[in-house]
Amino acid sequence: MKFVDEFRDAELGRVLAGEIVAVVEPGRHYKVMEVCGGHTHTIYKYGVDDLLPENVELVHGPGCPVCVIPMGRVDDGIAVAMQPDVIFTCFGDMMRVPGSDGTLLDAKADGADIRMVYSPLDALRIARENPDREVVFFAVGFETTAPSTALTLMRAKAEGSSNFFCFSNHVTIVPPLRALLESPDLRLDGFIGPGHVSTVVGARPFEFIPADYGKPIVISGFEPLDLLQSVYLVLRQLAEGRCEVENQYRRVVPYDGNPSALQVLEEVFELRPHFEWRGLGFISHSGLKLSDAYADFDAELRYEIPGVRVADPKACQCGEVLKGVIKPWECKVFGTACTPERPIGTCMVSSEGACAAYYNFGRFAREREVV
């Protein structure tokens, strides 16, 4: 039995692609946002968008957790990492996200002891192995990753660890979606909902999208066939004039999520009044900090943190790109001040962000249209 291969079947993919063609109106242009960075990755890795008709466009959403960390927070992280006794740990892809004066990789080159981990548990192990050092875990991620941080902190507390600290940049998925939907110039027809986040929070928190904003959303799995099927389900809702939360990823996502996970989040974290997102500005109740019960582990209390807000350059238009209002090449800084080597906004930070993808592959997309 293989859980994965059967969902990557190319034959079924072609069948689904055919059904998508059958359900769209030829003259209409559809924009569907996949919210989750993991979905963007699957789409890119398997070339899923290549199988869609020309008039169905996938818009990459704000769900890449490392890409949305603003410059000021990266600067704060670097300030902690530069403390003499600190071993600073983070996920690999966080290391390339730019602050106002370089990345964590640059800080490592400057002598900071920065180590890549695959799970927060690895960071706690490093703390155990280095009792005379202080180990800081730079936590990023949505409700998918936050439970792992929470469980690790609970373990640290249980074993009486005194040299393990967490710098929380965890964020929640619903507030940025609401912020996008609130904007009057939104040009999206529907959403592909985040499967892994939903295993934790469930499908219920997304009910406001059809109820308050009249847009369909389909919670999707992460195999290419899952995504094709979810695109089809969004388009079918549009064709049939329906608008609801559908759960394509029912094999994993219970409608009410994972109650144990929600409970550990409740215990370890509390909502910040507001949190800044790269390219999207401040969003209320969108960030998680450590709760009072875990204050002893809070790196933001342990270290002096500059906490200086570094404004996104005014010309950066990631927000508009995310809303589908403008194309990457219409942004004022695209290709000049903002390039994959020196990115400014979230859409250029990740190689799969809309702007980076266009910068690298736009020429290819053009050839495809000509062919």
């Binding site: 993919g13 070339g47 892809d93 390339r96």
Partner: protein
């Protein structure tokens, strides 16, 4: 189809101008990315070294430089830990250098060996590496003809750094050039990919992750020899897919020959354990280093014979044809995914970093 508006065309033209410009080295300091074999390495080599030294041999950006009928190459080896499943730094230092000669179409003749040792290195560790070097040199058919040793204070290097310089005689059958690729050429790999990088990464023990993967380190002259025998002048180019993996080789050659490269993902041999470890860590095996696997570009008529010759070479039983050279779009590598879609496979900006999202 939708015509491209003036403003979009302007943006695309600007990107093209930036791409076409010679790489410039503008960074304030060296980061790990400059050693990773991707774009940052390219700016260092093309923006600093080549303009400074400017020799014709260097300008070719081949794996080895040519002096008369000899090929010369040099390589430094820094690997942590120095021993890993399937090999060690000493074996790597011999194979890495003889392989740069082999893929340049030169039969390896001799090596020099330069050691930088860390104060406190255990004698038995040094002895083990010296033995590994001797065995690897014997297996590759080269003599070690000169050497040097330096010791640095504890903490100034990781156990030991090894530099080898190799000299080889250019083979008469070889007419290899990275700029000689023609549309229609077939692309072969000599064996399964991604083993060395995965084995070393796991051996570092930084991740709570375990998998049965061994480095593929081995000398490649017998492989190059078999290909030259089978394909002769129809063999356009060979590359050792080390740092940056197969993806980096394909990108470099697509650029050097101004052709497109199409890879059929389903035909790329990736060992199950490598695929599994890479999937968990969020890495693409196409970018992971190999130390005994080459990529061969062969004119279409000779491709089947070349593949057969590869497969009958010991250690290359799993050699495969993974794609072909196309005309458009020049300088780009396209992947036909196992799922039936297509995507672009670009050079990495820096080190391949495990992803979380």
């Amino acid at each position: 189809m939708s015509a491209i508006g003036g403003r979009e065309q302007h943006a695309l033209d600007m990107i093209e101008r930036v791409r076409a410009k010679p790489a410039r080295f503008k960074d304030a300091q060296i980061t790990m990315a400059h050693g990773a074999g991707g774009k940052a390495t390219q700016t260092l080599v093309e923006g600093l070294f080549v303009p400074a030294f400017g020799s014709e041999a260097l300008r070719q950006l081949d794996d080895a430089g040519v002096v008369g009928d000899l090929a010369v190459t040099t390589d430094s080896f820094v690997v942590k830990p120095i021993r890993f499943p399937g090999g060690s730094i000493g074996e790597l230092a011999v194979n890495g250098t003889v392989n740069d000669l082999a893929v340049s179409g030169a039969r390896p003749l001799a090596l020099t060996l330069s050691l930088v040792l860390e104060e406190g290195l255990a004698a038995e560790d040094l002895r083990a590496e010296v033995e590994a070097i001797a065995l690897a040199a014997q297996a590759a058919g080269v003599d070690i003809v000169a050497g040097d040793t330096k010791v640095v204070e504890r903490g100034r290097c990781d156990s030991m750094y090894v530099t080898t310089t190799g000299i080889g005689r250019l083979d008469e059958r070889a007419n290899l050039s990275p700029s000689s690729l023609q549309p229609g050429d077939r692309i072969l790999v000599s064996g399964p990919i991604g083993e060395h990088g995965t084995a070393v990464m796991l051996a570092r023990g930084e991740f709570e992750l375990d998998a049965q993967v061994e480095s593929d380190t081995r000398p490649l002259w017998p492989v190059a020899d078999a290909l030259l025998d089978a394909a002769g002048p129809a063999l356009r180019c060979l590359r050792d897919a080390t740092r940056g993996g197969v993806a980096t080789v394909l990108n470099e050659l697509a650029r050097a020959s101004s052709v497109a490269v199409l890879v059929r993902e389903a035909q790329v041999p990736v060992p199950a354990a490598v695929a599994g470890a890479c999937e968990i860590l969020g890495l693409d095996p196409m970018y992971v280093a190999n130390e005994g696997t080459l990529v061969a570009f062969v004119a279409p008529d000779a491709a089947d014979g070349a593949l057969e010759a590869l497969r009958s070479t010991p250690g290359c039983e799993e050699a495969a044809e993974i794609g072909e050279v196309r005309t458009d779009p020049p300088g780009m590598v396209l992947v036909e995914t196992a799922f039936g879609g297509r995507r672009v496979m670009d050079l990495l900006v820096g080190d391949p970093l495990p992803r979380i999202c």
